[in-house]
Symmetry: C2
Subunit: 383 residues, 2 copies
């Protein structure tokens, strides 16, 4: 492989991919590792779960991303350990891959805040299999409900309850936008409970800390993200994210960078959030540092704004102080997500599905397809 | 439900779907049952397995097919038994569904010709999960090969061996077309073995009856189809298919029709083959018989021809004596498959993917996505 130094990037999410792309053509031999063979555009994952998009619309094969790159090579592998002193990364297959510079971009996983039994009875929203499982599950429940109706002549509708621990929705946004989101959801028929913490769950109900029991056959857990990495003994922030210095190096290490959800990057206003914009900016910053040999300017995050969609003609956006909501916010949300989606084919497919859904009010991917696990894939995809 | 008689159709494949569609608007209350919630366009299943099409491109939600129908209702259910005397169908959920007329269109499953252990070590090609498993498996093998190459500096290519029991390929076609198929495959680099029967297989090899061992990490089994139905004690042909009389009634039963792969329909030239054209014609014939009360004319199959694709610009077609091959056969094959595909969205999606593949020589769905089985779906989908 060409390049005077060996760079290993662990993780092909927003941070790792941005870093690898920025290193395309650089004087470095880059190996990008991910346990999946695709980059996942997680902001649209919920649209796979709700039968609007195909998995392939939001997943981009990493090998394809670098097929014309002379110096970036992708390998599908789960990293099981890192020897920081020997400068090697160990994979699930027992291979050891040496590096001169390591970029750690291993992302995050569902955060159950120590209440791991919740994982057994809920469906997370971080991976494609989870999204497909939620789609299968909800469609199966609707089929079951239809059959109950046949037998008992009961009318069966869906009851949706949104449980939030804080005193308002969308805590990262201006309170005005949070209130708008709550009102819009209520208008859609969704029950919103704020200041409600989940104590436990089983297959048929959720118990809140207040003692209240909410009956539910489908429990979706999207209460947060915690970092996920195999680095033992490395310095960590209170959030458990790996501590990054001002140059995004793992504190105390010149040759290891940490970015994205895995990294705790301190700013005067606190740690950067676990979102894709910081991860991408961090990835590009690290690529620049690798290319130029040494960083002179500390990393600075440029906050371009935050946005969240609520439903048809309803979204909120907070762009450098300008607050958008309703149809305008919604259009901005659609535009930004198509723009950041990777690959021409994926953009066209997502736009077509959105148009289909907008005009026909139809969700075309209403398929219950049980997975058929592949032993070989299981072995790689153990993380 | 409206309608003077209760019709239950078991199976939403080509035969059952054609029958249900032809009964749309008739004076009958129709219940269509299938263990999946979609109709599967099996002729293109191999394109899902080879990362060209998305599962949703060839699967059509059965509920959507009849959402505007006043008298056809779909229920996702696996039929576990039929009481022909009591005129009831029993489902996996323990429900009993009564009927006045039953249409049995339960299709077929992989035929291992009594050598069931082969199923453990090979991947079938009859269902969506099988196709997705094959896609995952082949892509995983390529990833593994890539890593072996990294380590050992070995070049790794794919070796493809086609094993056929008869003395030529495409036995249903004119020998000239079979020879053309064989020559074309050899030109593509595929080894073709005719008059070769498989004795046994394990995870790494296939043993032929001749004693020859072919090493292979991927074994695809598409040696044939056998009928799959839960009717015990019903009259069967030598092929194990349910014996149909000249009016497509289960022999000896006025109120039960059998169609498609599940049914043995005798003609002067032997049993009709297990293909979609006979199934569709049978389904429409039965619908007519149900609508008019009684059949006067025995069923007659109109053979419009047979076709098979081999690869880019290569297919064979035998249409009423006219034999097409090469680019012309290939265009005919493409046209017919788009024409028979169900749903506007699916047609556009498949056409777009074909165009993409034709011009870019790229297979866009190169994703290894491990299934995440859903317990509820498993329960229904036990057949």
């Amino acid at each position: 492989m060409p390049g005077s130094q060996r760079v290993v990037i662990v993780g092909g999410g927003f941070g790792g991919l941005a870093c690898a792309r920025a290193l395309d053509g650089a004087d470095a031999g880059v190996t990008l590792l991910d346990r999946h063979n695709y980059h996942l555009f997680t902001p649209l994952l919920y649209q796979v779960a709700t039968a609007l998009l195909d998995p392939s619309d939001i997943a981009f094969p990493l090998r394809r991303a670098f097929r014309k790159s002379p110096n970036v090579r992708f390998r599908q592998a789960t990293v099981t350990g890192v020897d920081l002193d020997a400068r090697t990364v160990r994979t699930h297959a027992g291979d050891e891959i040496g590096y001169d510079t390591l970029v750690f971009a291993t992302g995050g996983t569902n955060n159950y805040f120590g209440n791991e039994p919740l994982a057994e009875h809920s469906i997370g929203m971080k991976t494609l299999p989870e999204a497909m499982r939620l789609r299968n599950h909800v469609l199966s429940c609707l089929e079951e409900a239809e059959q109950t109706r046949d037998t008992d002549e009961k009318q069966s509708g869906a009851r949706i309850v949104l449980v939030e621990g804080l005193d308002r929705l969308l805590g990262a946004f201006h309170p005005k936008l949070g209130r708008y989101a709550e009102e819009t959801l209520r208008r859609f028929g969704i029950e919103v409970r704020t200041q409600a913490l989940v104590e436990k769950a089983d297959d048929a109900s959720v118990t809140l800390r207040s003692g209240e029991i909410i009956h539910a056959k489908t429990i979706v857990w999207s209460a947060g993200v915690r970092p996920s990495d195999p680095l033992n003994g490395a310095p960590r922030a209170r959030s458990k994210r790996l501590e990054a210095d001002e140059f995004l190096r793992l504190r105390g290490r010149d040759d290891v960078f940490v970015i994205g959800d895995a990294a705790s990057v301190a700013t005067p206003r606190g740690e950067l959030p676990m979102l894709s914009p910081p991860a991408m900016q961090e990835g590009r910053y690290v690529a620049r540092a690798i290319k130029t040999g040494r960083s002179t300017k500390p990393f600075h995050y440029l906050d371009k704004g935050t946005m969240a969609t609520i439903g048809r003609h309803a979204a909120v956006a907070d762009v450098r102080g300008v607050k958008l909501k309703g149809s305008l916010g919604w259009l901005a949300w659609l535009f930004v997500h198509i723009y950041y989606l990777i690959g021409f084919r994926n953009r066209v497919a997502v736009l077509a599905s959105w148009g289909w859904n907008y005009f026909l009010r139809d969700r075309p991917i209403r398929l219950i397809v049980r997975g058929d696990p592949d032993p070989l894939a299981d072995e790689i995809d153990q993380g």
